[in-house]
Symmetry: C2
Subunit: 179 residues, 2 copies
């Protein structure tokens, strides 16, 4: 049996998962390495054995978000209804969005996770745009931006009030072509 002292099987995967939860719920700046270590049943030094820095953990978290969110979203092809359902379900179950959280916290800094986050949002936009025809004088890209903005605002509402209403209605709007 492997040496388990804390609550779960330690290692990079667990650290990334717990860090993602903490960054999403409490914010990146407000989450300390000691918080992450405690959530993993380790000490800070134990975390630094697997990751070189706090920012390296954030990068890993965003990479995992690419795999867990944008990947499956891309696999859904060009079906707006399926994309809407997956998106709503994903954010409703996690109760927030790490990307939006860290984007808000680091928006005015040129360094760090900036480029990583830009890539995330633009790829998300392109994925949504590919499933959308042009309509009402809007390009698919601007329609996708508007829908993503609505979703991120709805996720903030969900996180703050615990009310999934705006998020679900955003999903219905995309599925119904009313974006």
């Amino acid at each position: 049996m492997s040496s388990v002292r804390g609550g779960g099987t330690a290692g990079p995967a667990l650290i990334l998962e717990r860090s993602c939860d903490l960054f999403r719920d409490r914010g990146y700046a407000d989450t300390s390495m000691a918080d992450i270590a405690a959530a993993c049943g380790l000490t800070k030094a134990g975390i630094y054995h697997h990751f070189a820095s706090k920012e390296a953990i954030l990068e890993g978290v965003l990479n995992q978000l690419d795999r867990d969110f944008l990947g499956p979203l891309a696999d859904l092809g060009r079906d707006p209804g399926a994309m809407a359902a997956f998106t709503v379900s994903f954010f409703e179950h996690s109760g927030g969005c790490v990307a939006a959280q860290t984007a808000m916290e680091t928006a005015r800094r040129a360094d760090g996770p900036r480029r990583r986050l830009e890539a995330f949002f633009l790829r998300w936009r392109d994925l949504v745009a590919a499933a959308l025809p042009a309509a009402a004088g809007q390009t698919p890209a601007t329609r996708a931006e508007d829908w993503i903005a609505r979703v991120e605002g709805a996720v903030l509402w969900l996180k703050f009030f615990g009310d999934p209403g705006p998020l679900r209605r955003a999903g219905e709007a995309l599925a119904g072509g009313k974006v």
Copy 2:
């Protein structure tokens, strides 16, 4: 002549203004009392002469947001077009939203600015809802929530990408009754 040591006329009003900019741009957790002091041309002790704590400053900032944003918005009566124009202009000029920023950072904490922020968002929703008729099986309240969510997401997009497109289109949607 009054004793001016720093860049501007010091005092609670200046502290609130500079703190609002910092909280909005860099986030509440990432803004230190030393940052606020430097932005006002004072020392930390000078700040604590006017405010009891960092959280007291945040409360003052949110009170000022009530006066500067919700107040004028309420004065516009029930004209969706005027409300949309004022809202877009307000957020585009400030480049972000302190309320959304602090809501994201403190959402999972029951204490502190929670109630203050709840009151802000609900009053904002009620103000928008009062200017909106029921339509498409939606109550004015849910239509207002959806529009506010869209605006807040658009403000995030503006802050992160510097692109006011989604915010302006959100304004046009409200003005055109297409929410």
